[in-house]
Symmetry: D2
Subunit: 313 residues, 4 copies
Amino acid sequence: MEKVSIAEFERIFESVKNWGKWGPDDEIGTMNYVTPAKVREAAGLVRSGRRVSMAIPINTVAGPDNPNQAIHMVTQAHDVPVDGSKVRFALDFLGMAAHGDCHTHVDALCHISYDGLTYNGKRADEVMLSNGATAQDMDAYHEGIVGRGVLLDIPKLRGVKWLEPGDAVRRAELEEAAEATGVPLGEGDFLVLRTGHHRRRLELGAWDNGPPPKGEGKAGVHVDAIPWMHELKLAAFLPDGDGETVPSVVDGMGYPIHPLQVVAMGMLVSDSLQFEDLAQAVEEEGRSEFMVVGLPLRILGGTGSPWNPIAIF
Amino acid sequence: MEKVSIAEFERIFESVKNWGKWGPDDEIGTMNYVTPAKVREAAGLVRSGRRVSMAIPINTVAGPDNPNQAIHMVTQAHDVPVDGSKVRFALDFLGMAAHGDCHTHVDALCHISYDGLTYNGKRADEVMLSNGATAQDMDAYHEGIVGRGVLLDIPKLRGVKWLEPGDAVRRAELEEAAEATGVPLGEGDFLVLRTGHHRRRLELGAWDNGPPPKGEGKAGVHVDAIPWMHELKLAAFLPDGDGETVPSVVDGMGYPIHPLQVVAMGMLVSDSLQFEDLAQAVEEEGRSEFMVVGLPLRILGGTGSPWNPIAIF
Amino acid sequence: MEKVSIAEFERIFESVKNWGKWGPDDEIGTMNYVTPAKVREAAGLVRSGRRVSMAIPINTVAGPDNPNQAIHMVTQAHDVPVDGSKVRFALDFLGMAAHGDCHTHVDALCHISYDGLTYNGKRADEVMLSNGATAQDMDAYHEGIVGRGVLLDIPKLRGVKWLEPGDAVRRAELEEAAEATGVPLGEGDFLVLRTGHHRRRLELGAWDNGPPPKGEGKAGVHVDAIPWMHELKLAAFLPDGDGETVPSVVDGMGYPIHPLQVVAMGMLVSDSLQFEDLAQAVEEEGRSEFMVVGLPLRILGGTGSPWNPIAIF
Amino acid sequence: MEKVSIAEFERIFESVKNWGKWGPDDEIGTMNYVTPAKVREAAGLVRSGRRVSMAIPINTVAGPDNPNQAIHMVTQAHDVPVDGSKVRFALDFLGMAAHGDCHTHVDALCHISYDGLTYNGKRADEVMLSNGATAQDMDAYHEGIVGRGVLLDIPKLRGVKWLEPGDAVRRAELEEAAEATGVPLGEGDFLVLRTGHHRRRLELGAWDNGPPPKGEGKAGVHVDAIPWMHELKLAAFLPDGDGETVPSVVDGMGYPIHPLQVVAMGMLVSDSLQFEDLAQAVEEEGRSEFMVVGLPLRILGGTGSPWNPIAIF
């Protein structure tokens, strides 16, 4: 695939910038597109009551795609007396890097900077101190991510099980996939994008999805998809994998999708989702639209959060 | 207040036992009451689109009510080069005891045992090993906790700001509060119970809510409320505080409410919620019923999970 | 006590600066005074073979003097099968802030800066990135801290059990105490300074040793003691407490002793030691000098390390 | 190599048992062999004052031989104001599994059980609860591990760079290596055994040292070396690697060396040491004996500790 230059990346960056659009101190970016009417519309999609998780179980075993595994430790089982009565408690501790590939997580806008600036043009060294974010932190989303999701299932469209590493889904194919759903996709909606990343992992085992020669890479979207997301005024981007194509389509930049979405657009993005249960539900329910609820933990000063977003049909 | 004997506690325990009701291997207890129809009914309550968090921010500072604070650490700010481009990432790490009072959390059924048994009469030493639960773990709820919530606001009913520590709300008052809402409360519903615990903390500062003489205790429910919850077939119990009255009303037992709910009933319970925003929303929206969504993290073998449940009006 | 001005602090700072003394890239400061001959001399003090720990047990319970307790979690007891044989392993996890008051620890020179500079006049924002120190880190001491220690026991000199919070030991009294030991104290030696801080904790319980009004403060040394340490060319300073007097004797500065020692002198300092066993050993062995060995963990990029230094008689 | 049966393992186990030898409540096993005279003898070996670390730097990057990497996180750099003065502090947090292969560590006697019993015939389920050890914990060694070390350098004896994985050093070769040092090895001494494990890692890179087919294994000692250690009354065993040969020489048991040493003998053992600096020092100093000091952290209830033991010449 022909590489895109950094100059072209920066041209796209400028073209999709939402800086100032919702005021100089806005901290939730494209989630502003989700009006109360959109929440009602989303709730109106609940008809069968069926729910599916879009998260992977938190992974506590290091592996090629998970070098920073979560730690989960039982700190007390039922062998320890408590208060003299017959009651006993089991306790545990959970710890994880917010952006570890060991779990499905959501990004705060402070997570990424480009050329020293975060979303809305704030100075990165003022937004983010070594002991916590002073703005654009995870708690900015404490009312939860609630809206209407639409699944674009690229492997299904192509008739394959998954996209191979390095495959960059382009704008035209996304438009075709959106068309194929038979439902609209537009302002305030959540784009749920299936590349089959997790299906490949389930069938072939985990692989190092960093760039070659050490890694094998992964499938994601092309930078030309970003202006389309911007024009549609999508509120959130929920991919399996993390949306990045590896190796990157931009020459000299490893991860161009995140800065375009998070820094320029202020878009709500999540990484390491899985849509295996969702794809089956979409099939069986006969529709590609559903209510989505994702609830970040209330982490003051946090750059991201593990979460377990669900689709409700 | 007259103390209840352990014999009386055990009589109640037997009377509210749901063991075997949903099969010998059931892991979600009273959440079985939440049928697809209940989920649809809950979604049908979404009219204004207003959302409020029922969680407290995760507390990383030790205090009298929070001896096991969460740890939140920035592991990288924007001062560290990444890949030679102008992109930089801020990263952090979050760790916490699942049942710490530093955060709002939900209990898995493996969390509590009575007389060596967990919910459904399973052997506690087989359900819970020192390296994780083998059953009744947090991931049993991975499809999320979704249903219809009804707020019973006891301080409002009484015309006070909060209930004082040691106050045990009895069945009769809960019935009165339910009546006062003007909406039904029954099978598959979530009881959202406000004692004003968090309001007191906001106004007076944190206190040690363990038993005297060291602590000051806290307000909760009386054990006579449990049969009422059982008869109503409530699916979940969402209190501020944790539902326990301290000092306990049961002689010789520190925390009787949790074993009755979790072990005997298999009830979904959550601790350390706050309803200050919710109470205001209930007032302004003019109704005590709403959709509730709470999404536990997918912690395999886990005894609980931090979470951030929301109410949607 | 009359307060010292920041101008006077800065005058002392300049007068005790060892910057450049051991080359521009030196990372161990006053530990350069410990020559092989000093190590031999220290080993020559081993006569009875008696050893005593100078550390407190790592404290996993939050308390008024320990807001950031260590976390120690058993991750596996002997209830979990391993390999089909009769062998089983118990495992655990330990985590702690390097400078938490929950444990005895040693400081790396990167730990402290004054006016944007660390020891040897290095830029603090270059020495210390948000993901680790690039120089002056804990591993600079990986060959261990080995030398000759001399105990100055101020409470014993005064005939009291301990020094009260706020008491600042001055140069003259330190000289008197050194004289009282009957042994020399000079170049390359380790000053072991007992204020009785830990004895007070053992007898009265832990207290908040931050500044009033919230805290009660603690005993330490006066800034006038620093030039004396500098003139003597002491290699290390090992106090109970952490050497700081709280409230500080310097007007407008909370903790003046650490910047003078660590930033200006490049001195090896340790916090939260205890000398209760040591004081008894000194008494029974009839001498105030002994071999000291302290072994920091090999933490690359680390700002400090928990440790358990010992005295050998 | 011919496999040894479990029956033969158990015969050796019985023959080297020190249970009851130092009383029914002894918690330090073979460290009882280290008398004050041995400590003096060790200190007497300090002649040049040269010190070398025998630890590897704590490894925070997961790898094939380090699935449970340590976590080291800067929690504050010099970008965060402290008290209004020009003083700033850098802070960090360190966490690790006590027995992770990410660092050099020492085992407490509670760490291992055989057939439900730990050292001295104690019930493993009473010694080790899910929230900490009740006996034989790390703090039993709080006075430090101090003694006379003797290096047996097997690769040097053989004229190779390192022993290949799967190689089990037998008693006869250890006797030969001990003879070759020209110094005695006996009661209360520390056996420092070099297989070249770390040299191999430095030159070839890390490998999975678990058993084939997944791993490549590692070199260690044969079970027939254990009775020899027992007869010599050695106090401590300090190997690179962890002393175990993988695949094990005992049929049906993965790790026979640890239970023989820790459970049967009550021997002080350490894992993941490195002797590259030591081997050079031994060469240059012209002697294989030296003072050893290792200082476990004071972890109450702990099963092991990271440490950084040193040799002093």
